[in-house]
């Protein structure tokens, strides 16, 4: 091969072609999607998450939860997402437009979390699970996140969100006079988990029967 301009052009063209075809064309096709209301007068969906939950997303990102958890529900009939109760409908591009960083994930070492806020609404459950997943889910291989909690002396009265360990896990209990409570980071993270819901329909994706 001696025709060098052709070589250069080919090298350039091949990558430009795929960039145009995959990325630019999707940006044009649906980069401008907006929240939409199913019927007039309803709130347009999706809505952005705010406040503590928004902070919690940053914890989710820097702890790398994504490497074991996806956030996407596939259509009923493709895989068992629907049967496992991971969502009432397939998620579609519009569901993600307000997320500053999309966390679809490619691993399901743990369950999908797209709708965990609906599936597991209990704050206590999440705290215990994060502290030591084995407590709520025997034999889990999810890492414990004990460092998102702190042990402190009990003040005038025990804190309402202090962790209560079952007898099997008595070894996790703090010494007498102390309690284990979530730090701000744990509270934000759980607020984020509880905010993960797909409880609305979109014109392009209705709840599956």
């Amino acid at each position: 091969m001696k025709n060098l301009p052709l070589l250069f052009l080919g090298i350039f063209f091949c990558l430009a072609f795929s960039w145009t075809g995959l990325i630019l064309s999707s940006e044009i096709q649906y980069g401008g999607l907006k929240p939409i209301a199913l019927e007039e007068g309803e709130t347009p969906q999706p809505q952005a998450i705010v406040g503590e939950a928004q902070q919690g997303r940053l914890i989710y990102i820097d702890q790398g939860c994504l490497y074991c958890h996806s956030q996407q529900v596939r259509r009923k009939g493709y895989g068992a997402d629907w049967e496992r109760g991971w969502g009432d409908r397939q998620t579609v591009p519009r569901d993600y437009i307000l997320q500053p960083r999309v966390l679809l994930g490619t691993s399901r070492t743990g369950p999908d979390l797209m709708t965990i806020g609906q599936r597991q609404p209990s704050t206590e459950w999440h705290y215990l699970h994060l502290y030591n997943p084995d407590i709520t889910s025997k034999g889990s291989i999810m890492p414990p996140f004990r460092y998102l909690f702190e042990t402190r002396e009990i003040g005038d009265a025990p804190s309402p969100d202090a962790l209560i360990f079952p007898d099997d896990y008595a070894y996790e209990r703090p010494p007498a006079g102390y309690e284990i409570v979530p730090t701000e980071r744990a509270r934000q993270l759980v607020a984020y988990l509880l905010s993960l819901k797909v409880d609305y329909e979109l014109p392009e994706s209705r709840f599956a029967e």
């Binding site: 795929s18 990325i23 649906y30 401008g32 960083r101 691993s107 034999g139």
Partner: protein
């Protein structure tokens, strides 16, 4: 003459007829010595660092209480530190050394002003170090293959450009004549990588695309790092060393042209197969699947070409450290790519997607193919640059067997374990409920994850053997054992001086 012009003319090594090729080559090797050795030393150090993080992450996955309360080593961070240390530390440094060296040799141009290359190389490694520390200390981005805090991207991009441009300069001032297939692969890769990296950084971090367009950009990038960066350099190296060491020409020029262009055309569409079933337009997924299946063409073509070049030389192949690793890599390339095409089919993907199967597949490509080829290349380059032989055949054998058996165990463990994981995840009872609870799936997977840690120990031993051997050779006396000829792995061939 303006300074700029005199700079350019000083890079041009001028064709020097009348000087024997061997002498020219050894001058080129000489000129590449310091930068190449810098890159390779960094690469080998990153290889060991990356292995440490790999082991930690792997053990955590089946025994989550291991180092559980050390925040900076939590699973998500340790596995990301592993990936980035390996991809940007080991692989990229190895690529810089191997690809620039092959390029300089094929272009018959010695490198002038190698000092710039060294400075750029130092900055590259500082960037990677900051990036990996960033991942461990809270800067993890959770964007696959781009986990380093985006602040290091400018350092990496800038130093990359200063490094990559040397390949282009060598090419620009090459001695006229035929352009060999390795040169296309390397030249293309040197252009593709910065382009991919800069676009991905821009569209994900600087000016984030909206919604799942981010995910498409992410997988366009991540898959192309394999397809348009590691793969072409790996193939370029195979195309260079296979005929070189065997002393016979490549089987077919036309097959190599076909292989190159079909790879360039199809590979970069394939990345979206990581999003099959996901929230992106269906036609994109179909395009990704078609491209993934079309990859069969370049893969088969290249496999035929390599096979018929090497065929009938099994003994020499086995005796030469370079070829033993490179042929292992070339065969893995064929197998891994065919698996990859199969995994893109919807019916297969519904099982393998989201499971350890994918992790196994990634190691099939990046380790069993690419990394093995880089090892082989390094075994060839070092003696040429240092004018001395590898000190110990036993260490080379240790390196080879630990890596070959280690990666073998990992591939079997993750492919089989991942397949079981996927099947259990999807299987329904006749009345339409999941047959296994999620925790049952997890429990079934644990023994397979354990086998991966076993493989990790073996691989790490291999890497340490290589590390020791590499620095032993570097520190060794100027010329050792040249009388005995190259270090070979079969005693009876020693002295024939054919392989190296």
């Amino acid at each position: 003459m303006s300074p700029l012009l005199s700079f350019f003319s000083s890079i041009d090594p001028k064709a020097r007829p009348g000087i024997p090729v061997k002498v020219q080559l050894s001058e080129i090797d000489e000129s590449m010595r310091t930068p190449s050795i810098l890159f390779l030393s960094a690469a080998v150090c990153w290889l060991v660092i990356g292995s440490f993080f790999a082991l930690v992450a792997s053990i955590k996955l089946h025994s989550p209480d291991f180092l559980a309360n050390v925040e900076w080593l939590t699973f998500g961070r340790a596995r990301s530190a592993h990936l980035n240390a390996m991809a940007f530390g080991w692989a990229n440094n190895a690529i810089f050394a191997v690809s620039l060296w092959i390029m300089a040799r094929l272009c018959k141009t010695a490198v002038r002003h190698g000092g710039l290359l060294i400075i750029a190389g130092i900055f590259w490694n500082i960037g990677v170090t900051i990036g990996v520390i960033g991942i461990l200390t809270g800067g993890l981005t959770s964007v696959e293959w781009l986990e380093m805090p985006p602040q290091v991207a400018p350092i990496l991009a800038f130093s990359y450009i200063l490094i990559g441009v040397w390949g282009v300069i060598a090419f620009r001032f090459r001695q006229l004549g035929h352009v060999y297939v390795s040169q296309w692969y390397i030249l293309a890769a040197l252009f593709w990588f910065p382009w991919l990296y800069i676009i991905a950084q821009t569209m994900i971090f600087i000016e984030p695309a909206r919604g799942t367009v981010q995910a498409i950009t992410n997988w366009w990038f991540a898959h192309n790092v394999l397809g348009l960066w590691f793969t072409p350099v790996g193939l370029g190296a195979i195309y260079y060393f296979l005929p070189k060491v065997l002393g016979r020409p490549i089987y077919s020029y036309y097959l190599s042209v076909l292989g190159f262009w079909s790879l360039a055309l199809f590979y970069n569409w394939a990345g979206v197969h990581h999003l099959i079933g996901g929230p992106i337009p269906v036609w994109l997924i179909s395009a990704g699947i078609v491209a993934s299946v079309m990859m069969v063409i370049p893969v088969i073509v290249t496999a035929i070409n390599h096979h018929f070049t090497a065929v009938g030389n099994a003994r020499a192949t086995w005796a030469s450290p370079t070829l033993r690793f490179i042929v292992f890599g070339a065969m893995s390339y064929t197998l891994a790519s065919l698996f990859g095409s199969g995994m893109a089919l919807r019916d297969v993907n519904v099982v393998t997607h989201f499971t350890q199967f994918t992790v196994g597949h990634a190691h099939h490509g990046v380790y069993a193919f690419f990394t093995m080829v880089m090892y082989g290349s390094i075994y060839f380059m070092m003696p040429r640059m240092l004018n001395r032989e590898w000190p110990s055949a036993a260490l080379i054998k240790t390196h080879f067997w630990c890596c070959a058996i280690g990666i073998g165990i990992m591939l079997v463990g993750l492919h089989v374990g991942g397949w079981i994981q996927g099947m259990m995840m999807n299987e329904l009872t006749p009345d339409g409920n999941p047959k296994y609870t999620f925790l049952e799936v997890v429990h079934a997977l644990v023994p397979w994850l354990f086998s991966r840690s076993v493989s990790g120990v073996l691989l790490t031993i291999g890497h340490i053997a290589f590390f020791v051997h590499f620095f032993w050779m570097l520190a060794g006396p100027k010329i050792s054992r040249y009388r005995e000829g190259p270090t070979l792995l079969l005693d009876s061939i020693r002295g024939e001086g054919k392989a190296g």
